[in-house]
Amino acid sequence: MFNELFSSEAWAEALPVIRGQFLLATWETLYVTVLSTFFAILIGLPLGIVLVAGDEKGIRPLPKWIIKTLNVIINILRSVPFLILMILVFPLTRVIVGTTVGTAATIVPLVIAAFPFIARLAETSLREVNPNSIEMAQSLGASPMQIIRKVMLPESVPLLISNATTAITTILGYTAMSGIIGGGGLGKIAINYGYYRYRYVIMFAAVILLVVLVQIFQSVGNKLAAASDKRLRS
């Protein structure tokens, strides 16, 4: 597998594909990742807020059964392997996107796989908010909604950003798997052109590109998190 990397024939064979397909594939990977992360945050962040605020000792306790149900749903969704989940949600994908194949169709299973993960990340981030700050806000007459909007979320921004970075890199990894059910992107290239056709140069090139993308996301995320943290400005 590796010795191919040093064969000029293999490279000659691979280069047209790399030139012709990689730009589009990278774009597909990026937009699927970003859109999926966006929708997953849209569902996961409010869910995380509900889990923290609605807790027994939270700022707006909810009936215990609601929190328990949410926890069970999140745990179930998080334990189903992504490949199986993609197949399980085919009917839902068909309802939302109209088809179960193609790049756009992979966004649905990606969001469903990622939002429980993001809900947990948001939950842990929000639990880190100093309870004294929350008490302070209560002492000044803040409502639960105001505490969420003006204390819990702003105070945990640095942690939310670094956890969102973790989420986006994880989702990027999932997009590669979605190549199996006809999703586009670098994953599809690696599997279809590389693995199935024994053109390992293409496979490795695609993987390296994915690694580079993860690196970029991670370092941008780290920088943003650090820049947003006003506790470090001393």
Partner: protein, 339 residues
């Protein structure tokens, strides 16, 4: 006026119930600086939190200007809390917001327009002497400065009551002094009633007019600071006033026939006379000094001396009689506390 009426608070934990407050009744007059002092675990923090109902009393009522706080709806309570603001031991500033935004925070909660809120916040930062730090973040400030910002924030909604929960406990003595000065100023200028929770005797001594001593969830003693400190009655008060030694321990160490007399004098006028020497010469009563201290209470210097006198009943009475006849001096026998 703040009236706590038979307030009880019981916490139910995993290992049984904890009675944090047992039938606490207190009256804090308008415009007063009222101290609540007690050892850690005495229930001070719980007590101060019942005033703005951060802790809901298990029974009893909390009246602030005639309004029973325990009967308010959540929305009414939130509105009322703007009149009863609080500062904390750990300052509790929002770390991701600059000083100006921190002071704006309660105004935003109350729905004030951002521009008006900023103008008002700047005025308040000026009042606490930190106008130049408006755009600094809390992490860039010292503890004392952070507490000043917290005070500015607490004043933003023009409260009638300021609750101070161990507000100086995390500060060094010099900073503590300047924060207490600021609180005193605010009390004098704005007429805000201040309720101070502390375990530091010096805090109560330096700015409070009235004090309540809290001991294991109950009020052991209340009164004017000068009165309580010159003449502590309860065991809890005594151990606070005599922090150097357990008064009951002193009694165990007394020799037979030795009695304790506590002499309190107004330091500014009574210190010119060698009192104890005169007593020895004139009455032939020998006294040994067991404990002595000078304190400044409400701007006045008070001295207190614990004298050991060897002799019978008549000697003791004679000594007390001699001492109390002097101007600005009071003396009374201290007896072992009977529980």
């Amino acid at each position: 006026m703040i009236i706590l009426d038979h307030v009880c608070k019981t916490f139910v934990g995993t290992d049984g119930q904890v009675e944090a407050l047992k039938d606490v009744s207190l009256t804090v007059p308008d415009g007063d600086i009222y101290g609540i002092i007690g050892m850690s675990g005495a229930g001070k923090s719980t007590l101060v939190r019942t005033v703005n109902l951060l802790e809901k009393p298990t029974s009893g009522s909390v009246l602030v200007d005639g309004v029973d706080m325990t009967k308010l709806s959540p929305a009414e309570l939130r509105k009322k809390r703007r009149e009863i603001t609080m500062i904390f031991q750990s300052f509790n500033l929002l770390m991701q917001k600059n000083c100006l935004k921190n002071v704006c925070f309660p105004l935003e909660l109350a729905g004030m327009k951002s521009r008006e809120a900023k103008a008002k916040a700047l005025e308040l930062l000026e009042l606490v002497g930190l106008k130049d730090k408006a755009s600094a973040y809390p992490a860039q400030l010292s503890g004392g400065q952070q507490q000043r910002v917290a005070i500015a924030r607490a004043l933003a909604t023009e409260p009638k009551v300021l609750l101070c929960d161990e507000a100086t406990s995390a500060l060094d003595p010099g900073t503590t002094h300047s924060i207490l000065e600021l609180i005193r100023d605010i009390n004098a200028k704005l007429g805000i009633t201040v309720l101070i929770i502390t375990h530091q005797m010096s805090v109560v001594e330096s700015i409070c007019r009235h004090v309540a001593i809290l001991d294991q969830g109950s009020v052991a003693e209340t009164g004017e600071v000068s009165e309580v400190f010159s003449n502590p009655q309860s065991r809890a008060a005594r151990s606070l006033v005599f922090p150097e030694g357990d008064i009951d321990e002193l009694f165990r160490e007394l020799r037979e026939n030795e009695h304790l007399i506590r002499v309190v004098f107004d330091g500014s006028q009574a210190t010119s006379e060698p009192l104890i020497a005169h007593m020895a010469v004139e009455k032939g009563i020998e006294a040994s000094i067991i404990y002595a201290s000078m304190r400044e209470i409400g701007g006045k210097t008070y001295g207190s001396v614990l004298l050991g006198i060897n002799g019978g009943r008549t000697t003791v009475d004679e000594a007390i009689d001699y001492l109390t006849r002097k101007e600005n001096v009071s003396a009374r026998e201290v007896r072992p506390h009977v529980q």
